[in-house]
């Protein structure tokens, strides 16, 4: 019965994983240098060398990605490399570079080498995560990523909030892993395989196949719950506001951007590849059971809960956290569309979203080093730090979806992809809900900007001092958000929308 062990050629493996190896080596090099040569050096010197090595590793990986094959795979669907996974991996590396550049000013820990190494390891985990179609590697990489993120969240040993945030993230993350695994084990039981394409083949098999097996519905629900936790969609979002608030700013930005890109991509892969035969439909008059209706429920709930809860927040970080839940709802529309166009729209959305969120957390980091956290404290920001205020304006308006910025096109593409997916405008109600909730979100983003621009400045507040590296990174990010918004085809072409 047992198939002969399919051999993986080690040289092939080495050739295909060069980019990941480069990033890993950079991480180990940082650790080694930090613990030996730079042991007695000053904090600033260790920071500089750490950022330099880490960025060099990421840039080397970017080049290696550019020169590697466009299509490749390893036996057992262990690695499935396509142009799309290349783009996602490049986006992940770019986000890692921005995160690293923004961490020039971290002051919360003296374990610099470990911190950067963990960021790089998490990036490696995500690169593997997006390039595989095997449930085993998906699980291992996802847990690797989560473990790194728990540690990064709890890295600030001086702050009790940081430890608590790590704890909550860890407990909910562990439970979601349990649900996800249960779903995976049922999928394995139903199909006898842990490769996504083979699961799809088994599920679409001839009747009386397992296509309408009750265990399959349990599996779908379990997988949806498991990934729902990872992407922080309502009602599985309870950990997100605390984790975003308690984590060190750099970690929070990383958590909110990179891990979101990777999790959404792999979630879309799992449901769209493995569960393609049981998609079902959630259209108003053509309801058939499947994973699409389940996701529609989660998406609608996320949009409503996230955006309405964001209205009530006074802390900037919690506002971003709840709005992230709302955004997860919009992004699920791309998966619900269940079409290549939907996937491209999802990727465009999540990448531009990640750029804006990294930027927003970068601004927050600069503000928090001056003791500003509440929205009311922003008063007079446009006078105290005009550049920073302008960056914040660009990032928040992009998140809200204002036309010339990339957020608008992201919303436009994802809504239209979802609308086209069903005949007779079957999903119109969901799109209308999404548009209404976008209007709500505009309100609370504008509330922040009103505090920054209109509210009278308290007297005798000095100008804010911002590190040059942070300022430069923020300007690059803002420029990217505007550029991708004004010329969406730059990114869209590589994602496959014409």
């Amino acid at each position: 019965m047992n198939p002969m062990p399919v051999s993986v050629s080690y040289s092939e493996l080495l050739r295909l994983t060069w980019p990941e190896i480069a990033v890993t080596l950079a991480g180990i090099l940082i650790l080694a240098l930090d613990l030996t040569v730079l042991r007695r050096a000053s904090l600033a010197a260790r920071l500089r060398s750490g950022v330099a090595i880490a960025c060099a590793g990421c840039i080397a990986a970017l080049f290696l990605l550019g020169y590697s094959d466009a299509f490749a795979s390893l036996p057992g669907s262990m690695l499935v490399i396509t142009p799309l996974t290349h783009v996602v991996q490049m986006a992940l590396l770019a986000l890692a570079i921005f995160t690293l550049l923004l961490s020039f000013s971290i002051r919360f820990t003296s374990h610099i080498g470990e911190y950067f190494a963990l960021i790089l390891f998490a990036t490696v985990a995500m690169m593997f995560l997006v390039a595989t179609q095997n449930l085993l590697l998906i699980f291992v990489a996802l847990e690797f990523l989560s473990l790194s993120l728990y540690i990064l969240t709890g890295f600030d040993k001086h702050s009790r909030q940081s430890a608590e945030a790590a704890l909550k993230y860890f407990l909910f993350g562990g439970m979601s892993a349990g649900f996800l695994l249960f779903g995976m084990s049922l999928l394995y039981g139903l199909s006898g395989s842990i490769e996504l394409p083979k699961i799809a083949a088994a599920l679409s098999g001839p009747a009386p196949g397992p296509g309408y097996d009750p265990l399959l519905w349990v599996a779908i629900v379990m997988v949806a719950i498991g990934f729902g936790f990872k992407i922080a969609a309502a009602p599985f979002h309870l950990w997100a506001p605390d984790a975003y608030q308690g984590a060190p700013t750099v970690s929070a930005g990383f958590l909110a951007s990179s891990s979101k890109v990777a999790s959404f991509f792999i979630f879309a892969q799992v449901v769209a590849v493995a569960l393609a035969p049981v998609a079902g439909s959630g259209a108003a008059r053509a309801y058939t059971p499947g994973w699409v209706p389940t996701l529609i429920l989660i998406a609608a709930l996320s949009m409503v809960v996230g955006n309405l809860a964001a209205l009530a927040q006074t802390s900037l970080r919690r506002l971003l956290a709840y709005s992230a839940i709302g955004h997860a709802g919009y992004m699920l529309l791309g998966i619900i569309a269940h079409s290549p166009r939907g996937l491209s729209a999802l990727l465009y959305y999540v990448i531009t979203y990640a750029l804006a969120v990294v930027g927003a957390f970068g601004v927050l980091g600069a503000l928090e080093s001056e003791g500003i956290d509440r929205i009311a404290d922003l008063a007079g920001l446009s006078k105290r730090a005009p550049g920073l205020a302008l960056c914040l304006l660009i990032f928040l308006l992009s998140l809200a979806g204002i036309p010339p910025l990339s957020g608008f096109f992201a919303k436009f593409y994802i809504f239209s992809a979802a609308l086209e997916s069903e005949p007779h405008l079957g999903l119109l109600w969901l799109i209308l809900l999404a548009v209404a909730m976008s209007a709500v979100s505009l309100y609370y983003y504008l509330r922040v900007l009103k505090a920054a621009y209109v509210a009278p400045a308290p007297l005798d507040q000095p100008k804010l001092r911002i590190a040059p590296a942070t300022r430069l990174t923020l300007w690059i990010l803002a420029a990217l958000v505007v550029l991708v918004g004004c010329a969406p085809s730059l990114l869209l072409n590589s994602l496959g929308i014409r």
């Binding site: 728990y150 608590e164 006898g192």
Partner: protein, 100 residues
């Protein structure tokens, strides 16, 4: 031989106990143990199905789940100790610096 469905039922029992304990228990270490119980339930289904399909990848999966669980245990208990050091309590109700 015992039918495979019995194993699945046992796994369902373990999983439900894990889920329930996760939500009602107030001590963090107990909550953590309930997560381990859920992972064990999953392992049982994997082994059961591996047996049914006469296929080895289920067993391999179980091995990887165990390794991940061990790593998770190390990190989780480190986090628990860090929190305990800061607060001297393990009751989840008292760890509420940040309101939901």
């Amino acid at each position: 031989m015992v039918p495979i469905s019995w194993y699945l039922i046992l796994s369902a029992v373990l999983f439900s106990i894990g889920v329930a304990a996760f939500f009602i228990k107030r001590n963090i270490i107990t909550v953590f143990m309930s997560i381990e119980l859920m992972l064990n339930a999953v392992n049982l289904t994997f082994v059961g199905f591996a047996q049914q399909w006469h296929e080895v990848s289920g067993q391999i999966f179980v091995f990887f789940v165990m390794v991940v669980a061990a790593a998770e245990a190390a990190v989780g208990l480190a986090i628990i100790i860090a929190v305990f050091r800061a607060r001297s309590t393990l009751n989840v109700d008292q760890i509420d610096l940040m309101k939901l």
